[in-house]
Amino acid sequence: MNALTPGGVLDAVGTTLLVFAAAGAGSIILGTLITVARVSPIPLLRAAAFAYVQFFLNVPLLALLIIAVFALPDAGVIGPLLPTAIITLAVYEAAYVAEAVRSGVNTIAVGQLEAARALGLRQAQTLSLVVVPQALRAVVQPIANIMIALVMNTALLAAVGIVEVTAATNVLNQQLAKPIPIYTGSGLVYMIIALAIGLAAGWVERKVAIKR
């Protein structure tokens, strides 16, 4: 394995953060779109969204990464390693986001919808003025939990040859042979990122809270 310089360690942390940011943003957008399909009046779209969510909730991420990175090139589907892994991660986590957003939508009291209809709001208005603003508030915490899980899942990229924090930890340990500080250190990196997400979510939740 290549020697790892202090700059290399920073690069690895950067890779983990990049993967997290890109896959996180992608999964939130894709997951929301899937929820839209899931609650649409078109039965076929509902069924497709349901199938998507069930597939990705029930198949291990590592299997998907191996399919995307090692198997799909046999069918001529091949791209650069890092984007491939990021897309796989985003597509996988999107299923969890879709579940969270859907349960957020379900937290809205039926009376809210009835009131909106009674006031004569159109369907688009009901969605944009009543459903979405309340649902988004309800899902801040669940989505933060999914993002924390996503950070932990970025470690799996080490298994398909991407040098992020976990892979760099192994290289560093081989060079320096000081397992305790090295593995504790990279554990701390993950904990700090998770803590930051948790704090950010708490802040967002307070910002958007509805004062009743």
């Binding site: 291990p60 470690a155 397992p179 554990g187």
Partner: protein
């Protein structure tokens, strides 16, 4: 599903029905086009030839994979469950202890165990502990890291179940003079367990998925079987797709069970959303 979204839409009239019909037609076309493009891409590279799928009409290959599932995936999940259930119970008891320091230390431990990637712990088992002369068998190198993570998650699920109970339950129990231990075993635990059963089933699905980390260890479970198989028959796509399917079927059944349990609990008023 248990959506209250039917209120979003009026009973469709003739125009809305036409729009839904048009939407259905368009989405059917798009979905068909995506599937067709995928199949065409596969066919172009000979991945749909009967030659590459033929081995899967034979029993031995299924026998090999199902054997890996039973003796690897299920064994590792069972071992993890056997260790993490009692450990999770201990953690939740400590987490709810009346002693402040015990509670805080446990809460801290649970947070740490929940935010460290299991793969990192697997690497600790592989590369760090042997350095200190600790070198357990492969299944332990998988089951111990999984236990660390899943016992913490189980503790959090059970805690959510207990704190979701009305405070009066505990107060009434203590009020009639039951000892704390009995309040927990006879009043809190049974109700909490019922409330969190769906979440526990969901957690089992995630445990079954996480055993795929055995691939990294060279522990012979389903995904590792795919690794061995594909280096032997070079049918990566077919091997791994079939393996994904073997993961999918039992997990999807468990997921359906979980959402059925959740709906049933909802309709009985025992609601707990996580």
């Amino acid at each position: 599903m248990s959506d209250n979204l039917s209120y979003l839409y009026d009973t469709p009239g003739p125009r809305a029905r036409r729009r839904v019909l048009a939407g259905s037609a368009i989405s059917a076309l798009v979905i068909a086009a995506v599937i067709a493009a995928g199949l065409w891409q596969f066919a172009q590279h000979g991945q749909l030839d009967s030659r590459v799928w033929e081995p899967f009409s034979q029993w031995p290959i299924w026998d090999y994979m199902l054997n890996a599932y039973a003796t690897g995936t299920l064994a590792a999940a069972g071992l993890t469950l056997a260790m993490s259930a009692p450990l999770g119970l201990v953690l939740v008891l400590l987490r709810l202890s009346p002693l402040g320091p015990v509670r805080r230390i446990t809460a801290g431990y649970i947070e740490v165990a929940r935010t460290i990637p299991v793969l990192l712990l697997v690497y600790v088992m592989m590369f760090a502990l042997p350095h200190y002369g600790i070198n357990p068998g492969t299944i332990w190198k998988l089951a111990i890291p999984l236990t660390v993570a899943h016992s913490a998650l189980l503790a959090e699920i059970m805690r959510a179940g207990i704190v979701s109970l009305p405070r009066g339950q505990e107060e009434a129990g203590l009020g009639v003079g039951l000892p704390r231990r009995q309040v927990f075993t006879a009043i809190l635990a049974p109700q909490a367990l019922r409330a969190v059963t769906p979440s526990l089933v969901t957690q089992l699905v995630s445990l079954l998925k996480d055993t795929s980390l055995g691939y990294v260890l060279g522990f012979f479970e389903l995904l590792q079987a795919g690794n061995v198989l594909s280096s032997y028959n070079h049918l990566l796509i077919q091997d791994y797709l079939v393996i994904a399917l073997i993961y999918l079927v039992p997990n999807a059944l468990l997921s359906f069970l979980a959402s059925w349990l959740r709906r049933r609990a909802d309709s009985r008023g025992i609601t707990l959303t996580d």
